[in-house]
């Protein structure tokens, strides 16, 4: 008997990754990165891409926030809310695994 999947909640300790049915791919025709999923193709903006690329199954949400804050030269609190909201939305659509 299969155990049912449960809704995952984002915490600083979560380790996000892309599920098997989702992948990021550069599209040479449109010169942009696409996120491919079963029925939909997404065209994430630069910040979304930076978050998704860090969903590598090794980095914690806390680490991703610190890393992005350093890259964007801004404080972590400013980044944290956006990253958490993004991951919650993508996790609820099963596009990111927590």
């Amino acid at each position: 008997m299969m155990t049912l999947r449960e809704r995952a909640l984002v915490s600083m300790q979560s380790v996000p990754s892309l599920p098997k049915h989702v992948r990021i791919q550069y599209d040479p025709v449109r010169h942009a990165f696409a996120v491919l999923s079963p029925e939909k193709v997404f065209w994430p903006n630069e910040i979304s891409l930076d978050i998704l690329r860090r969903c590598d199954g090794r980095s914690t949400v806390g680490h991703i926030i610190a890393d992005l804050a350093s890259d964007y030269d801004t404080d972590q609190e400013a980044v944290a809310a956006d990253v958490i909201a993004f991951l919650r939305e993508w996790s609820d659509k099963l596009l990111v695994k927590l």
Partner: protein, 375 residues
Amino acid sequence: MSEPFLPPIGMLAELTHRCPLQCPYCSNPLELLKANRELDTQTWLDLFSQAADLGVLQVHLSGGEPTLRRDLEQLIAGLSARGVYTNLITAGVGIAEGRIEAFAEAGLDHLQLSFQGARPATTDRIGNHGGSHEKKLETARRARAAGLPLTINAPIHRHNIEEVPEFIDLALSLGAERLEIANVQYAGWALANRDMLMPERAAVERQADIVAAAQERLAGVMNIDFVTPDYFAIYPKPCMGGWARDAFMVAPDGTVLPCHAAQTIPSLRFERFGERTLAEIWTDSPAFNAFRGTGWMQEPCRSCERREVDWGGCRCQAMAIAGDAAATDPACIKSPIHNHMAILIDAALAQAAPEGAESFIFRRIGATTRPDKSA
């Protein structure tokens, strides 16, 4: 027409019209092609390669039943080598041992499995194939064991609309990431069987509430996509995301079409892959350009603020009901004949046979000649 056009993103490849099931709402045309009309392996591979060059990112491998093609593994591998996202759309009946694993190894990204009912008796009756439900359950288990992401597709109509809560439970129990509750669209075989498939109004309303509640309850657990029934709608769907805008389909013989039912528009002529390249057909085919963009629109579409939201709706539905492929989709409340939809619903319900006594025209070669359903 001067709209700039975009490269296509998606392609539906109907590899074959052969199928073990006989669903009376099949989206294939009434005139089904036999196996000897199908493209060979190399031609499909060439077509897929041209599609990737053109910008196609996703290919939906469909039919008929695509697993009846013995070269399916090879076709998946060809697409995968080009980085194209592959989605296999299958009825999941009679797939030989080891093949699902072979599809996964060839690089298949996702599998979509149809269930005609949530109950075995419904599945077996609608597909006109005894024992099919059990085979589908087995296909789902094998797909999960092979590590394939899974969508359950449930085509909804009068005879299974009350099973929607059971479809949700079924998809959950099979570990699906996604469930499509897809109300039958009245084109192809579904148009021929419309009177028998039309659901009751109250059932449609109940269904909408059940799906909305489940979507909220199952956020992060399972995605539920809801394809609402056109005849009960206020606004039309942006059919195919707009005619020839970002997707197209290819029939088993290589005929390249803007949508499933495009061949029901008698004024259009369609071209076959091989006679011309895919790029030439996509950009130059008169049939593709006939309803591309907004330049072809008449009123009320032409000045409507939603013209680039729903792109006028479905051209084939306009043809079938308004008798004019360039008319506003009658599903739209702004269509001068929108009230025909209600009349067609009432007419269908008045003729509905009692449960079990309906006489579907089952989908099979030679089952019907083109019926006259224009209203």
